[in-house]
């Protein structure tokens, strides 16, 4: 039975990949139980990893990966012009994820990396999140994205709801999972300042939060840094903690200066 919320037209989705591991795309293919239903709801017109046909008209652009080349910027602008909705997938696209680790190293060698002939090699720039180049309508966070969250964002968009991404920190979900806190186990954890939605997966598996979903909406950074310092870290270590997934934001002004001087 068709509900009143079903859109009259099947929205066309296009999936674009920048510097990434393709794990977020794979998570879409990993929706084994839902994929057939999903394909009734939306049409993938561009999804290189899974489909040969390409379409140039789309309603929602999904973007995976960090911006690391000038060519990416042109490409993103072209996508933004076509796509009514632009959604990023995963940590690389926002806040910058593991590709951002290289930003910390670029400072030693700020020059361009140009190699090869004219066959299409590009200078590598600072790794940046997609919304540093174009406006983005929603971010699906995580490294990789969570299947259920992807599906719930897609359904929300289809029926015209705000994507249901939590703004509160990971600790909320971690306590609900009844985990022993990493700090009580003598480890550190970025849970108190990191956006939830993962179900506190890493702490639940005896690990700790590394911050892959980016900062929570309302983090108390100064109190948290004081907590880390109380646990034996110095300012540099604290930065190294953030840089793992949040290399663009954590480097702050430093990163921006490099971008300008480039």
């Amino acid at each position: 039975m068709d509900g009143p919320l079903r859109p009259t037209k099947r929205p066309r989705l296009a999936l674009f990949e920048l510097a990434s591991c393709a794990g977020c795309q794979l998570q879409i293919l990993n929706c084994e139980d839902e994929l057939v239903d999903l394909l009734q709801l939306v049409e993938f017109v561009y999804f290189k990893e899974a489909i040969s046909e390409t379409g140039n008209e789309y309603d929602i652009a999904l973007i995976e990966g960090a911006v690391t080349r000038e060519a990416d910027e042109t490409r993103l602008r072209a996508i933004r012009e076509r796509a009514p909705l632009v959604i990023t997938l995963g940590a690389c696209a926002h806040p910058v994820g593991i590709p951002g680790l290289k930003n910390a190293h670029d400072s030693e060698e700020p020059g361009r990396l140009v190699y090869g002939d004219a066959a299409g090699y590009f200078p590598s720039t600072l790794a940046r999140p997609v919304d540093a180049i174009i406006p983005v309508d929603a971010h699906i966070p995580g490294c990789p994205i969570h299947k259920d969250e992807f599906l719930s964002v897609v359904t929300a968009l289809l029926v015209g709801r705000r994507p249901p991404i939590p703004g509160y920190p990971v600790c909320v979900e971690c306590r609900l999972a009844e985990n022993p806190c990493a700090f009580d186990r003598g480890a550190l954890c970025l849970g108190p300042v990191t956006r939830a939605g993962c179900g506190a997966l890493c702490p639940s598996y005896g690990s700790r939060c590394y911050g892959c979903r980016g900062p929570a909406d309302d983090p108390n950074v100064s109190s948290f840094e004081a907590l880390l310092e109380k646990n034996g870290l110095n300012a540099e270590d604290v930065l190294a903690e953030y840089v793992l997934y949040n290399g663009y934001r954590a480097l702050g002004d430093q990163a921006l200066t490099m971008e300008v001087s480039r």
């Binding site: 920190p169 108190p192 309302d218």
Partner: protein, 348 residues
């Protein structure tokens, strides 16, 4: 109702049998954390345990609970979901029994919340008395929640080889009827129980500098205390304190749609007044934006608002929030500091 006395070994055998026939939940140690979870045998129950990671209220107000299910279409079909599994919760501490009594007063007596009531009807509460303090974070003695006289089906006291069983309801009496080895509690059993209570009372010392019924007044006077600002700077707004609290029950309500965009559910999930978006309205304005206001709100709820509204302790002194808080915000210290300099603008 007549109390019973039972050798521990018989009790354990009885639990083994119960657990093989129906759902029995009890505190179980999972690494360093202790949780109420379903057990298969008595030996799984943690020996000495601090209050569990989440309080037993999770059996009455699950972390996420479906309220309605619906199907959209030409006609909207919807029905309430009143799920209520039968479960015996074993080993509830007195503080938590007090907290459950508060929830009963709110959700059943005051709100007639069918979802809560349905679960409550099908749950059996077996308490376990505390004979010594958990640690330096608990202050049940000061909140007068160490002793419990109602709102349990059975209450156990560990007297060494034997367990004294106070029967609190016909449900508890019937549950216990099948226990072989139990006998009626006699005068000397009651004497042993009294001695245990005396020893207990000596072991617990007051932690608060005020009596619990003075807390509402103290907090009302302390509305302008600078201590709130100090705490606001420290608080991470991580929501740990409210999630672990047995008397916290605030929730959020939301809808979920299946991929057919026609069937779905309305659910409620635990929420926290410590989070930024909790008091945000349609215009995006948050009525409790400063962290200091949020911390103050929580501690006022615990020490004052609930007491004023329902006449019961809004904090039962279990100490969970203090254990959970990474920046050591501890109600004992907060209340004592406010007491130290009431009405004045307290600074640490």
């Amino acid at each position: 109702m007549l109390d019973r006395m039972v050798p521990k070994a018989d009790l354990n055998r009885f639990i083994d049998r119960l657990a093989s026939e129906q759902t029995v939940a009890a505190p179980v140690a999972e690494g360093p954390s202790i949780r109420f979870q379903a057990i298969r045998a008595a030996h799984e129950i943690a020996e000495h345990y601090l209050p569990t990671a989440l309080p037993p209220s999770k059996y009455l107000l699950p972390v996420k609970e479906t309220l309605l299910q619906f199907r959209l279409g030409e006609h909207i079909e919807m029905e309430p979901v009143l799920e209520a599994p039968e479960v015996i919760v074993f080993g509830i501490r007195p503080c938590d029994l007090h907290a459950l009594a508060l929830l009963d007063a709110i959700f059943i007596d005051d709100k007639h919340d069918g979802h809560y009531a349905a679960r409550r009807r099908r749950i059996t509460l077996v308490g376990m008395e505390c004979l010594e303090p958990c640690d330096d974070r608990c202050f049940c003695h000061s909140m007068e929640t160490l002793e419990v006289h109602a709102n349990y089906d059975l209450l156990l006291t560990d007297l060494g080889d034997d367990v004294y069983v106070a029967v609190g309801s016909p449900k508890g009496r019937d549950l216990f009827a099948g226990l072989t080895g139990a006998r009626e509690a006699l005068y000397e059993d009651r004497t042993r129980l009294r001695r245990a209570h005396e020893a207990r009372d000596a072991a617990f010392t007051p932690r608060l500098d005020v009596s619990f019924d003075q807390l509402p007044g103290l907090l009302a006077e302390s509305a302008d205390s600078l201590l709130w600002d100090v705490l606001g700077e420290k608080c991470l707004s991580c929501g740990a304190c409210t999630n672990v609290c047995p008397t916290c029950y605030c929730f959020d309500v939301g809808d979920e749609l299946d991929l057919d965009l026609a069937t779905g559910r309305r659910y409620r999930t635990w929420d926290s007044c410590q989070l930024d978006a909790f008091a945000m309205v349609g215009t995006g304005e948050s009525f409790r934006k400063p962290r200091a206001m949020r911390v103050k709100h929580r501690l006022n709820r615990k020490g004052r608002y609930i007491m004023e509204r329902y006449g019961r302790q809004g904090c039962v002194g279990c100490g969970r929030c203090a254990r959970a808080c990474l920046v050591d915000i501890n109600p004992i210290e907060v209340f004592n500091q406010l007491k130290g300099q009431p009405a004045s603008r307290t600074v640490r």
